[in-house]
């Protein structure tokens, strides 16, 4: 059976697994899906206080002459949260379903993919809040909005690739789940989320290209160009982001499919 037809046959499985994630995850909690918004909002407030008020990092000024540290942060934090969540949720997606892997044959990529899709739904919900916040600040979030599906696609593909990788790695080495915590922390500060890229440029000058290799940098740059500046992002940035995302996904996919026949024994 071809991979494509396997994927098509698994649509309903995927849908039900996503449903399970969304419904079961928040069953019995008062705030429900609202919790997925609380986290980035609280983080934004903390970072805005620490970096904006105490350390006095100036947020960049957009073409309309506006600047707002909270808005700058939030636009970067939301995709970032989705990324780091995909890594952590992906890591447990196979291990937590050991019994299923040992007893039933089904399309295995559906397990990590369902966590990515479920978190994607939360991400979409948080975007609505972001739009409202930007509109309230009278930021130009709409002129280039038509471009937004491009970085969103790139983000989704990157999340898929990362969760495929972390799910397999954690199956073989249970230390992965702890290393992911460390790894995302380092990655977080290597990405211009709480500080503008201009500060980095001032420090490392000619080596900026190295810093820019980080796929998350290009990705968040694209989100900010569209939502903070209201501009169409630079083609090179968009292509780099798309290219790296697809590359991570392809690597993740190959690793996953290679390891897949042995899941039932390893889990």
């Amino acid at each position: 059976m071809g991979t494509i037809s396997e994927i098509l046959d698994s649509r309903d499985l995927l849908r039900n697994l996503v449903n399970r994630e969304l419904k079961a995850g928040y069953k019995g909690s008062v705030l429900g899906m609202g919790w997925s918004l609380v986290n980035p909002l609280v983080t934004t407030v903390i970072f805005a206080l620490v970096f904006g008020v105490i350390l006095r990092i100036d947020p960049p000024v957009n073409p309309r002459g506006q600047s707002n540290f909270a808005a700058y942060l939030l636009i970067g934090l939301m995709p970032w949260n989705y990324l780091s969540l995909s890594l952590t949720a992906g890591a447990s997606s196979l291990v937590a379903n050991g019994n299923l892997l040992r007893k039933v044959y089904f399309f295995r990529p559906a397990l990590p993919a369902s966590t990515v899709i479920a978190n994607g739904v939360n991400f979409l919900a948080s975007l609505v809040v972001l739009f409202a916040f930007l509109a309230f600040l009278r930021f130009p979030w709409y002129p280039a909005l038509w471009m937004l599906p491009v970085p969103m696609f790139s983000l989704f593909v990157l999340c898929l690739g990362l969760s495929l990788l972390s799910s397999v790695t954690n199956l073989y080495f249970r230390d992965t789940q702890y290393l992911i915590g460390l790894f995302t922390q380092v990655w977080f500060y290597l990405t211009p989320i709480v500080y503008p890229i201009s500060l980095v440029e001032a420090q490392i000058g000619d080596w900026l290209w190295l810093y820019n290799l980080n796929p998350a940098t290009a990705l968040i740059d694209t989100f900010r160009a569209i939502l903070y500046n209201g501009e169409v992002p630079m083609l090179a940035t968009v292509l780099w982001s798309l290219g790296t995302s697809v590359a991570v996904f392809v690597v993740g996919w190959i690793v996953f499919r290679r390891a897949e026949p042995h899941f039932a024994e390893e889990v």
Binding site: D9, D12, L13, R15, N16, L17, N19, R20, K23, A24, K27, G28, N97, N99, L100, L101, R102, K103, V104, Y105, F106, F173, R174, D175, P261, H262, A264, E265
Partner: protein, 404 residues
């Protein structure tokens, strides 16, 4: 044609890790040491199943039956050889796999159904049938965490049998639920068989194999020992298991042993009609169970007890004690043997488990209790006339009114 299975030279290797490096520290420390043993669960297994046949996989625990089933289901990948399966597979290796306790019965039907390969539309069209089969009409919108284990299993089973695959793989799950539900399940299998679906069944219930299967595959230590007509293979299996058990004089099962050990049961022998060790036990002929005991200190209130079980996990068929038979025991000291003689073994051919014990007179204390730690095999006699567990001394009589 849909429903056929070909197993070609399948070998499956497992690695038994003594202590698997699951962390970086361990990985660095024991980088070079080989920390596992290899063991072949299946070795060069080949056979063929034609569409519509039902096949029983039999063999002792650890003979590779479940591994073979998992290879057929695609859960495990064999190291050598291949399985060629034509048609949609439904694997009943576990009921209710993937149920989420927080979700309702209804939501879990959709979830579990799609894991088993049903589309949403298919589940919708079979939903009422599933709920009716599980007998859970009143609870279907309750979260399954509130279900009793029986309800849980019933729902899982109802979904699985409604997958309607070309090939159904079943692993021992026949033993779920109460008597009534088990009958319902067997009837469902019978119906699927009548519909021409292929069934592969792993079970210890040899009766079921004889009754339900056309053919059987007998696995011994991962190799095919015998393939053929179901009843023929079952008889072959019983004979060879009987030889092994009798040779080893009461092989020890995984049962419990407890007691104060003031008196210890040191050995248990099961003897056939001619009373010599190692002779086969034959249906309808006498047998003797001999307990060897050793009293570490004299005991005045000892009673002997032997229980017969239909299977290690089955029903207790009989309990016999010296007290119930009003046989005086007296003071036990030193060593000795005690025999329980059974007139004509009223059991159908099969494997039975034994519990043996030395207890005090009112049964409040065990000196030594081997709970289902021994077993014996009853081999076919000259005159087998029944199936099940007990062979009652029956005769049939048929009267017919001759119609004009």
């Amino acid at each position: 044609m849909a429903g056929s299975i070909r197993v070609e030279g399948v070998s499956k290797r497992f690695r038994l890790y003594h202590e698997r490096p699951r962390s970086f520290k361990e990985m660095l420390v024991r980088r070079r040491k080989r920390v596992y043993d290899e063991f072949w669960a299946l070795r060069d297994v080949s056979f063929e199943v034609h569409p519509g046949q039902s096949v029983g996989l039999i063999g002792a625990n650890g003979s590779g039956k479940s591994t073979l089933l998992k290879c057929l289901a695609g859960i495990l990948k064999p190291e050598e050889g291949r399985t060629v399966v034509d048609g949609k597979i439904g694997a009943l290796l576990e009921v209710g796999a993937g149920f989420h306790p927080e979700l309702t019965g209804r939501e879990n039907v959709y979830l579990n159904g799609s894991i088993l390969g049903l589309s949403r539309a298919e589940i919708r069209s079979r939903f009422d049938e599933i709920v009716e089969f599980a007998d859970l009409e009143d609870f279907i919108d309750t979260p399954v965490k509130a279900y009793s284990s029986g309800m849980y299993v019933r729902l899982g089973f109802a979904i699985a049998v409604n997958v309607r695959p070309d090939i159904l793989l079943v692993d021992e799950v026949l033993a779920v639920g109460d008597e009534q539900f088990q009958r319902k399940c067997l009837a469902k299998f019978e119906q699927m068989r009548a519909e021409g679906r292929t069934i592969v069944l792993v079970t210890h219930a040899l009766d079921t194999v004889k009754a339900m299967c056309d053919r059987a595959v007998y696995l011994r230590k991962g190799r095919v020992a015998h393939v053929g007509e179901a009843h023929e293979v079952v008889d072959e299996y019983l004979t060879s298991v009987g030889e092994v058990t009798n040779r080893e004089q009461g092989m020890i099962l995984e049962g419990q042993r407890f007691g104060t050990r003031q008196v210890e049961i040191t050995a248990v022998e099961c003897l056939g009609p001619d009373g010599t060790p190692g002779s086969p036990i034959i249906a309808g002929r006498p047998m003797t169970i001999r307990l060897h005991w050793l009293a570490h200190e004299p005991v005045d209130d000892a009673e002997f007890r032997v229980d017969f079980w239909a299977h290690v996990n089955g029903v207790r068929i009989a309990e016999h004690t010296t007290r119930l038979s009003r046989t005086p025991v007296g003071r036990l000291a030193g060593e000795g043997t005690t025999e329980l003689r059974v007139g004509d073994v009223p059991l159908v051919p099969g494997i039975y488990a034994l519990s043996v014990a030395i207890q005090n007179r009112d049964g409040t204390r065990d000196y030594d209790h081997h709970d289902r730690r021994h077993h014996f095999t009853v081999e076919p006699g000259d005159d087998d006339r029944g199936a099940g567990v007990l062979a009652l001394p029956v005769t049939w009589e048929i009267t017919q009114k001759v119609s004009p």
